[in-house]
């Protein structure tokens, strides 16, 4: 629209870069990284004269598609199995997006190169777009999908549900603690560059296969912004690498950020894609195959490894172990099984798996049925209330797990669970890397080096602690996961909307009170704890108790 070339215009706006003369700006957000002030190029090369009309046009396409979907009765073809999981996903994702906006000022202050600030400011506006466009999509689902429960109380649910808290790492991790650890390494170098591929590209493709073409419409529009943000992160990373003293911190932060993103994003998105779909074509990619393509090949091999020549220590071992967890240790399957075990503590309905699903899983993950098939058969058997308890209270060869203190996903790969006593409190971890994150990385001293700006892991990190000793009907009622008749639960372990087939608070009274695994763990003597851990490590797969006498 302008007669000036974009390159020329972009060159011109570089003249706006500000070097303070009279007052230094207040540095609110600290970092232990050091940056040399040097002329840098703004990698985004974006000017607002073209940016605003471009985004307006993208918006017009998104909202046009939304209108079309409603007029075309898209919801007559949407798979409920799929859209139920969107109640979780779309309750989480607007906060990470707006948190990404909030993280940009942390970079203005930590990275003293004004040429980079233009790109960061544009990312800030992008992220406001993403957060509100996603809240709006959820609103559309709430208005037009058969079951609005779970969408309509979405943000209350997200704020008080354990799954929401796990997802919240993918937001608070961007904005709290060391400014570079949070806003650069965790957000742009790992979350945006690696994991938005599965979030915003792989998952929308699965949505389309389940009759929902609005998720791809919105999220591909979002991803077209994300791809620009990647260059913001890259520029900051190269600057950090140019200072030798940053290498140790970069190594620490890449290990933390990689592992935490894997633990959180693969748990959620892996479950949505594998257990939320009805598309069981044998030649459609499994999550593991998508991960291999998007994360392992496109991110790890094509982006991360080449940075070794600039001195970056790439966590090869953790990349391989993440793959090992997905492929050999059944990470996604264990997480999906846990979600379904605890369906009553959630705010969406979880469909059972059928023979067709079993066949697909066995095809994609040989040996799947022997591990998980029986449990899912039990899940379907116990789906409709019929005098029995919810599956979590029935004997289905499943031991309710401990939670990882760091990533807050339960310790589902039982042999990897490990512990630490921190400040007189016994904590459990899903893996040695999560233990290291808490015990070593998030500390004011790291490997003998002062790290006074490093953040802390805080909060009530085990959800069950809050409800220790409560009856389940009180728990669900307290969280507000009840429908408008005052007794029918928002969550259900099936998709049948016949009120006679739906679980109510009354049904939950059959269950014994909720017991917090961590509270119980801390009540044990040291000997009991050691025996408990030894037993735990022998449990699984699929949450099975340790073999007797082994």
């Amino acid at each position: 629209m302008s007669r000036q070339s974009l390159a020329k215009a972009h060159q011109k706006i570089q003249e706006l870069a500000w070097d303070p003369v009279y007052h230094e700006p207040y540095m609110k957000y600290g970092t232990d990284y050091t940056f040399r002030k040097a002329q840098k190029k703004d990698p985004l090369k974006q000017i607002l004269r073209s940016y605003f009309p471009m985004e307006e046009e993208k918006d017009n396409r998104v909202y046009g598609a939304e209108d079309g979907a409603i007029r075309g009765n898209m919801f007559r073809q949407v798979q409920e199995r799929w859209l139920e999981w969107q109640k979780l996903f779309l309750s989480i994702i607007p906060l990470p997006e707006i948190s990404a906006a909030r993280s940009m000022p942390m970079l203005f202050q930590a990275v003293p190169n004004p040429e980079l600030h233009n790109g960061q400011a544009i990312q800030m506006i992008d992220e406001v777009r993403h957060s509100t466009i996603q809240q709006n999509l959820k609103r559309l689902y709430m208005n037009n999908y058969i079951d609005p429960a779970g969408f309509n109380n979405s943000l209350r649910n997200f704020h008080n549900d354990y799954a929401g808290t796990i997802g919240r790492q993918f937001a608070e991790g961007f904005i709290t603690g060391d400014a570079i650890t949070a806003a650069s390494i965790y957000l742009t170098i790992v979350a945006e560059t690696a994991f938005t591929n599965t979030l915003f590209v792989a998952m929308p493709a699965e949505a389309a296969a389940n009759g929902d073409y609005l998720l791809p419409t919105v999220f591909h529009s979002v991803q077209s912004d994300e791809s620009r943000h990647i260059s913001n992160g890259y520029a900051t990373l190269l600057m950090a690498l140019s200072d030798e003293s940053n290498r140790q911190l970069l190594e620490r932060d890449l290990r933390y950020a990689w592992w935490n993103n894997h633990a959180v994003v693969d748990a959620a998105i892996g479950t949505f894609i594998e257990y939320g779909t009805k598309d069981r074509r044998k030649d459609r990619e499994s999550y593991a195959e998508m991960w291999r393509r998007w994360i392992y090949d496109d991110y790890y091999r094509s982006y991360l490894v080449p940075l070794e020549k600039y001195g970056l220590t790439v966590p090869h071992d953790l990349v391989e172990e993440a793959w090992n967890r997905i492929w050999n240790k059944g990470y996604v399957h264990e997480v999906a099984q846990f979600f379904a075990t605890g369906w009553l503590a959630n705010y969406w309905r979880i469909d059972g798996m059928t023979d067709e699903d079993f066949e697909w899983f066995e095809h994609k993950y040989p040996g799947w049925y022997d591990k998980y098939g029986k449990w899912w058969e039990n899940y379907s058997r116990l789906a409709i209330p019929n005098g029995h308890k919810p599956i979590v209270g029935e004997d289905v060869d499943y031991v309710y797990p401990q939670r990882c203190w760091t990533c807050m996903v339960p310790c589902l790969i039982r042999e990897d669970m490990c512990t630490a006593e921190v400040d007189g409190h016994h904590r459990t971890y899903c893996s040695q890397t999560c233990r290291w994150t808490d015990v070593e990385a998030f500390r004011p001293v790291y490997q003998g080096r002062e790290t006074p700006n490093m953040g802390q892991l805080v909060g009530h990190r085990e959800w069950e602690t809050l409800y220790h000793g409560w009856t389940w009907d009180e728990v669900v009622s307290d969280m507000g996961y009840v429908r408008d008749d005052g007794k029918t639960m928002t969550a259900q372990p099936h998709l049948n909307l016949d009120p006679k087939k739906m679980w109510t608070l009354d049904h939950l009274r059959r269950l014994p009170p909720l017991q917090s695994p961590n509270v119980l763990f801390n009540q044990m003597t040291d000997e009991e704890r050691a025996a408990y851990v030894a037993d735990y490590n022998r449990q699984g797969p699929a949450g099975r108790p340790a073999p007797a006498g082994a």
């Binding site: 007052h23 957000y29 309509n152 209350r156 709290t176």
Partner: protein, 405 residues
Amino acid sequence: MTTTTPRPAESTSERPPRSVPKPAFTDAEAGAKEFPDSGASARRYNYYTPAKRKQTHYEDVTVEVQPDPRHYLSQGWIYGFADGERGYPLTWTKLKAWGVDEPEPERGVGTGGGGRGLNWPAHGWHEFRDPNEEWEQTIYRYNANVVRQVNQNIENARNAKAFDQWSRNWVTFVERSVGAWMHVEHLLGLYVFAANERSGPTNMHNTAMAVNSAHKIRFAQDLALYNLTLTEEVPGFDGTAHLSAWNDDAEWQGVREVAEALPAIEDDWGEAIFATNVVFEPLIGELFRSGLVMQAAPGNGDFVTPTVVGAGEYDYAQRDLRWTQACFGPLVQDREFADHNRQLMQGWLSSWVPRCLDAARTLQPLWSQPDARPPRFEDSLDHAKNRFAGIVSDLGLETPKELAQ
């Protein structure tokens, strides 16, 4: 006439069937069945109370996105800064809204989520709504319209050879002084508004700051790119003169000093936004933009610059000032902290008004530079002071005695 050769049949018959998902009729649309929560009343976000009778689209996409441990956030913030602060501390401004001194709900073993009997909103910050109701569609529609119109105005002027009418003095004025102003807008956009949009207590505050930031950065770039066009169109127009004016001209150093002081405000987003939008903007921003540039331009044959500058003026006068008044005004009437806030804001006025007036006066020589003189500096300043006094009065504050200096 042409002849066609039939295609070999095998070219289609040998093609393997495409693997595509099969659409299925699921009848999963609203109203297809009746069950608890299937009715129309269940199709609204029920976790917040709207400011007015009906929930607005803006509220639906903004309210509660940023959580609060005093509300539903039962497990609390899960990351902390090194000093133990976490989330969005209410102490990141000295302003207070009712309820902030009340303790957060105690949570621990067996306490539950803390949602029972909770009074909400827990504090007055949550009552704020941006009167501009900004969310992504409004941001892009508004700003895209502005850049389109600004571009068209400039393009029309270029085609009409409108710049040929400019006198040498006016060319110098635009290249130096209008040029220098781009730095003020850029500085405020990035290092006041964007820099503080991590600090506000609610999503509504932080989004309003982000949008204010976008206006400022856009306007700075509008001026920079206008400057580029003039460099290309006006013989002898020095496209770098704005840098020497901003860096060296005595007239600009007062404004630069006070503008740079705004990002230097320590750990108080409230003071930064207040000092900028309540004090700096009317006393310096509008004084320069409306009291000088837009008044002087027509007499000097320039009908283009006022349209570029006027777009930025509209941002402030019609949108950025509106949210600022809605943000700070209620705090002066706060049911618990009205006195505290009033004294604090009066103190900010006493501190920033003299600085801004001093800076405004350093601009005075600019009023003498154009051949066709604008209104007298003192008249422009009086107008700016009156405007400022009106804003202060609307907020429920006293006009500071320093205004008389």
